[in-house]
């Protein structure tokens, strides 16, 4: 009985998510087909779909999606690789934390857009510059999130491991890391979302391809349908990423109980 109710609850939630999308698309149809808004400012859903079809046909859809996704993933990946050990150390060593925390807090408030000229000066216009922008945009946030997540690991588990003879390294590897993993997966999922924001910043200047580039160039030609096509594609890639992360979390931490799952 209880199980059945839970099932129905989940279906209900799916239903509500669907209704929200349907409402927005409905409103979009009314505004465009009703002639309330000029095609120049808001193209109809069909125009945008047609545009996506054209982009697919000339091959630029996959090319741009691929380029942008690759930039996001590489930039974000380096951010994770550096932030993970850094955040874990910060959580467990007061000295290290005292050493790096002020500079991280300082850098966190620097707007990434303001750093673009410097990255261009130092790194030129190749891919490294784009990875760097995404790295700079996500790293300083992520390192603090990792620190926070790792600090939240139940101290009793660490104590239990120590009294079972675990060394400092073993405590990290066998207790702190697995215990923090579900929380870390959440941190990674959120940061990769932000990475998409910084992608557009990175592609604003000196890019020859990518979804951000496509959107910015369309502005110049007043190709509003392409702008919407680009936005929808980024949104869809975001949805897929989120979904993949949720599945991945369930695979790497099947023991983890989420409030929503209960």
């Amino acid at each position: 009985m209880e199980k059945k109710n839970k099932r129905r609850g989940v279906n209900m939630e799916h239903m509500l998510s669907f209704i929200c999308f349907a409402l927005i698309i409905g409103l979009w149809c009314v505004l465009t087909f009703g002639g309330f808004v000029s095609e120049l400012f808001l193209p109809s859903p069909f125009a945008v779909l047609r545009r996506i079809g054209e982009l697919y046909a000339d091959g630029s859809l996959w090319a741009n999606c691929f380029e942008s996704t690759a930039r996001v993933v590489v930039g974000w990946f380096w951010s994770v690789v550096v932030a993970l050990p850094c955040g874990m150390l910060m959580a467990n060593s007061r000295k290290f934390s005292a050493f790096v925390q002020p500079i991280i807090e300082f850098a966190r408030y620097l707007p990434v857009v303001a750093l673009v000229p410097l990255t261009l000066l130092y790194l030129g216009i190749d891919e490294t510059q784009k990875y760097t922008i995404i790295f700079l945009g996500t790293f300083f946030q992520l390192v603090l999130m990792v620190c926070d997540t790792v600090s939240g690991v139940d101290a009793n588990l660490i104590n239990a491991a120590k009294t079972l003879g675990a060394s400092k390294m073993q405590v990290y590897k066998e207790v702190i890391f697995p215990a923090a993993l579900p929380g870390l997966m959440d941190d990674f999922r959120l940061t990769i979302g932000w990475a998409w924001t910084y992608l557009v910043v990175a592609e604003m200047v000196a890019a020859q391809n990518g979804l951000g580039y496509m959107i910015l160039r369309s502005q110049r030609y007043l190709a509003t349908d392409t702008i919407f096509a680009g936005l929808i594609l980024i949104g869809l890639i975001g949805l897929v990423t989120d979904f993949l992360f949720r599945i991945l979390t369930r695979i790497v931490a099947p023991w983890h109980e989420r409030l929503a799952d209960r």
């Binding site: 104590n159 239990a160 120590k162 009294t163 079972l164 675990a166 066998e174 215990a179 023991w255």
Partner: protein
Amino acid sequence: MEECKLQAVGLTKIYDGGSKGDVTAIDHVDLEVKDGEFVMIVGPSGCGKTTLINILGGLDTATDGTVLLDGKPVAGPGADRGMVFQGYSLFPWLSVQKNVEFGLKMKKAPKEERAAQAKKFIDLVGLSGFEDALPKQLSGGMKQRVAIARTLANEPEILLMDEPFGALDAQTRVVMQELLADISKKTRTTILFITHDIDEAVLLGDRIYVMSRRPGTIREVLTVHIPGERSHESLVLPEFLETKKRIMDMLWQESQDAAMDR
């Protein structure tokens, strides 16, 4: 004269209370546990029992005094002093089997040895058939069985138990007490057990240290003489009741003194 396993000499812990002044948790505590002995520490809540056992286990440091294991001073946590906590502290991502193997894995024991040892102690605590279960699938009593097996599988010199049955319901507690009495007899493990439950102290202990209210000192040491095997039936023996009354009087006196202080 039996060999002395664990010895505490003049243990004192003073917490820095900042502007409110320092707080003395325990004050010059001396105690000794002989090889194979089951020793209880009973005292009113807030008397520094947990501070004391954490210092013995190496999870906290004493302001003054020494802990000796087999005559040698020890500092920091180690596999030689196994601990069992009130909150179980099982690793939620590991199965029962893997939890019990944890200490041996830290020692890098071969896989076969780990499996054999785990099986032996899972059998001992009566959890055969639950090897692959995750902690979240177990009841409180079963979790504590796993925690006991996990610590024993590591073959510590002494087992330190901090109110291990405090979170269990009354019936489960009696079952666990009988199980522990049985394990103590079978394995001849040296045990130091902390509780605020007088029945538990008299039922399980060979000797009982009664602590005063804060700052915790040893008020008295009693030797328990209860004929026959310890079980729930011992709870009504005249010897049991007599010892229980003596401890109750002492603790009542402590609470009277505490009230006078206020």
